[in-house]
Symmetry: C2
DNA sequence: CGGCGCATCAACCGTTCGGTGGAGGCCGGC
DNA sequence: GCCGGCCTCCACCGAACGGTTGATGCGCCG
């Protein structure tokens, strides 16, 4: 089964998979909510899912599918198929319970192999993705901002001044500065603006991130 | 003809177009350079092109195709088919000579209509895109940073301090500040960090933008 | 010709920021 | 029980930043 908000991509995956005798596309969804309902109804062996989707994104969908089936015998194997290869995207998807993670610029052969492997529960990662994850585990976390630091940084990204951030978080301005210094050290920069761009590049921050749920 | 770096998307578009009797996909390319060579050889009526591609991106390709054919009788009509709908992406593509601009989340029918219209030289825009462009022409340019201002802002995004930016651009620090103030005014913010995030959100700046040509 | 936008520069000001060198409390792991 | 990480706070400093006012030169356009 497929879940992707782009009709073109859905058609593409479906078309490619249709060339293989051992595959059958039993359904497709345009967002996470649809996907969950369809999975319930169709019970596919494998779910190919995009991360960035309206209504409910990929990670939330994966997590929900993994969790909500306590009695159900067999949740589908999940292969993430997306354009995005930032560190946190990958990590969040894998942590949420994705079996594999493939980038959309992979050649068809690789896609086929990945789907077969996923069906059998084997973990598949794009070469780029794999090296990223390895790098992650070697140096535990090159970034790994604490929750508090992230709160500070998101406000910094919006251009909020330390004094206001302090008032916002009910802490003193000195504390905000301390957090900032720690953030700089972790990101390897030495000013707030660079911190924001680096965080965005690594996927630690997201553009237009107002939402506060996680 | 198609130009997109994602095999999945190429297959998707090709598959969708194949369902229509009046379309024929004569070739496909994975990047701008490939696309230009193939257009030369195949002379398609319409070129569907993605903006974000390796080697040479969509806008550069469109511009090159429009310019390099002074003697040639008929450059192809160009339909941009992309995920990105930031103001500057659209503007740059249209200015480069794109006939139409469609988002990848458009339903198949819309794609078909768009291709047919493009083939006849009619301009097609996604509803979202159209409204954006209209908004643009109403208020001439809400952003519209000058070239110099953009140079300053890109360096600011990297965390460069004014003094170094000044040395970089062979101007005085005072001038850098003046540019910054103008940037703030144009973007509706009042500090450099917010300026960077707003510029990124509007597509004025791009993450990981080191290249200095254009 | 007279604007207008752009780019350039110069003082000058108060504010904010980055950085140092502390300090204490809390919690979880070895 | 101690160590380490996280969160919290303080005082102080120089540097950087935001903002003001005012100025010059260039090129474009009506």
């Amino acid at each position: 089964m497929l879940a992707d908000d782009h009709p073109v991509v859905r058609a593409g995956i479906a078309g490619l998979l249709a060339t293989q005798p051992d595959f059958e596309v039993v359904g497709d969804a345009a967002n996470g909510k649809e996907a969950m309902a369809l999975v319930e109804a169709l019970r596919p062996d494998v779910l190919l899912v995009d991360l960035r989707m309206p209504v409910q994104d990929g990670v939330a969908t994966i997590r929900a599918l993994r969790e909500e089936h306590p009695g159900a015998p067999k949740p589908p194997q999940i292969l993430v198929l997306t354009t995005y290869d930032t560190d946190t995207d990958i990590l969040r998807a894998v942590e949420a319970g994705a079996t594999g993670y493939l980038l959309k610029d992979s050649p068809p052969d690789e896609l086929f192999r990945a789907v077969r492997a996923t069906a059998q529960g084997h973990s598949v990662l794009s070469p780029t993705v794999a090296s990223r994850l390895v790098g992650h585990t070697r140096r535990p976390e090159p970034s790994a901002l604490s929750a508090r630091e992230l709160e500070v940084l998101t406000r910094v990204a919006r251009g909020t001044i330390n004094k206001i951030i302090a008032r916002d978080l009910r802490i003193s301005e000195a504390t905000v500065k301390t957090h900032l210094l720690h953030i700089f050290a972790k990101l390897g920069v030495d000013d707030r603006t660079a911190a924001v761009t680096v965080a965005l590049e690594r996927g630690i921050l997201r553009l237009g991130a107002q939402e506060g749920q996680g």
